[in-house]
Amino acid sequence: MKTIIAMLVTLTIIGVVSGGGLAMISGWAAPLIAANKKAATERAIFLVQPEAKQYEAVAEVPYELYRVLDEGGQPTGYSFPWEGNGFQGNIRMMIGLTPDLATITAIEVLEQVETPGLGTMILEDPFRGQFNGLKTEPQVDWVKGAPPTKENEVQTITGATISSKAIVDIVNDGLARLRTDLAQGGDK
C-alpha cells in the first residue's frame, strides 16, 4: 500500500511539474510558431503572385483561398494552397491564378517528399517555370519527351514523370474545385 501511494505521488508530481513547465514554454512559443506559419503562408502567396501588394482571405469556400490585390485594392488574382499525392507522399503547393482563373501566374511547392535529385526537380525552374503564364483551359496537360506545343502544356521531367504528372494533377484538381465553387456565386 505504501509503495502504491509513493508511486502515485511521484508520478503525479513529475507529471504536474512537467505539465506546468511545458505550459509556460508553450505560452511563449505558441505566438511565435503561429507567426512563423503566417509568414510562411504570406511569403508563398506573394511568391506565386509577384505583382500583388496585399491579400485577403476568401471566407466563402471551405478551404484556404486568398484574393490578392494591387496597391489600390483592386483584385489581381487568387493564391491558394492545394495538395495531392506525389510519387512517395503528399505534395502541398501554392497555386497563383489570374482573376478569371484562365491563366496560372506561378506555382510553388511548399511540402514534398519526392526522391532527392530526381522527383525534387519539380522544385526547380526548368520545370516550375513552365507554369508561369500557363493557360488552364480546358485543363493543364503534360507532354513527354518533347517541348510543349500548346499554351496549356508542360513538359514532364525525364526520369521523374510521376512527380511531374502529380503536380499537373494537383493543379487541375484544385482548379476544378475552385471553378465550381466560384461559379456557384460565392465570390466573383
Binding site: T3, A6, T10, L11, I14, L22, I33, P116, G117
Partner: protein
C-alpha cells in the same frame, strides 16, 4: 591527476570513443540514419539530443532516490518527453526552417534508446555531476558520429559540406548518398573501417608486448611466417 579526477575524466571521454553511442553501442540508429543527409542536419539533431540527454540525466540523477523502482521507467519517459517537447517548441519558434528539415525526428528523440539507456545505466546510480559528464560525453560521441556521417553523405550526395561547395560542378552527385540506402552504406563502411583500424592497433600492441617478453631470436625466427 588524482585517481578521482581520472575517473571523472573517464565519465566524459568514454562516450566520445570507447562507448561511442553510434559506432560502438549501435544506439540511436533511427536519427543517425534518417536525418544525416547533410552535416548541418546531423549537428542539429545531435545537439537537440544532447540537450535532452544532459537535462534528463541531471534531473533524473537528482531525484533518483525519490523514485520508486516500479515506476522508474515511466518517470524517466515523462522527464525525457518534457525536454523533447521543449526542444521541439523552441525549434519551431526560433528555427522554423531547421524544424521543417528534421520534421518528425525531433519528437522521436523521446524513444531514442541512447537517452533512456543512459538514465537506466548511469544517472539512476550516480550523482548529478557525474551524470551530466556522462551525458555530455555521450552527446559528444553522438555529435561526432552524426556530423561525420552527415558530412560524408553531403559531400558525395550534394558536393558540399555545411552548404559550402567543395567538389567541382563536374562531379555528378551520387544521389544514393542522400537516399536511405546511402545512410546504411556509409554507416556500415565507417563502422567496418573503424573496427579494422582498432583491430590493427590491438594486434600491433599485442605484438609489442610479445616482443618485450620473448627473446629476440625467437621473434626473428617467427617473422615472415604469418601475416
Amino acid at each position: 591527476m588524482s585517481k578521482k579526477q581520472v575517473s571523472l575524466f573517464n565519465d566524459y571521454t568514454k562516450g566520445v570513443w570507447d562507448q561511442n553511442p553510434v559506432f560502438k553501442q549501435v544506439l540511436g540508429m533511427c536519427p543517425a540514419l534518417a536525418v544525416t543527409v547533410s552535416a548541418m542536419n546531423g549537428i542539429a539533431m545531435a545537439l537537440a539530443t544532447t540537450f535532452v540527454l544532459v537535462f534528463s540525466s541531471f534531473i533524473i540523477s537528482l531525484i533518483r532516490k525519490l523514485i520508486p523502482s516500479q515506476v522508474r521507467i515511466a518517470s524517466y519517459i515523462v522527464v525525457i518527453a518534457t525536454f523533447v517537447t521543449i526542444v521541439d517548441l523552441v525549434m519551431r519558434a526560433q528555427f522554423p526552417e531547421l524544424s521543417k528539415e528534421l520534421g518528425p525526428y525531433i519528437p522521436l528523440i523521446v524513444v531514442n534508446c541512447l537517452i533512456l539507456g543512459r538514465q537506466e545505466a548511469f544517472s539512476s546510480k550516480n550523482n548529478p555531476f557525474r551524470s551530466v559528464l556522462d551525458a555530455l560525453g555521450m552527446g559528444t560521441g553522438f555529435l561526432i558520429a552524426l556530423a561525420s556521417l552527415g558530412a560524408i553523405r553531403e559531400l558525395f550526395g550534394s558536393r558540399s559540406i555545411l552548404g559550402v561547395q567543395l567538389l567541382p560542378d563536374a562531379f555528378e552527385p551520387w544521389l544514393i548518398m542522400i537516399l536511405p540506402a546511402g545512410a546504411f552504406l556509409t554507416l556500415g563502411l565507417m563502422m567496418g573501417g573503424l573496427n579494422a583500424m582498432i583491430l590493427r592497433r590491438k594486434r600491433r600492441e599485442e605484438a609489442d608486448i610479445l616482443s618485450k617478453h620473448i627473446p629476440k631470436t625467437y621473434v626473428a625466427a617467427s617473422e615472415g611466417q604469418e601475416v
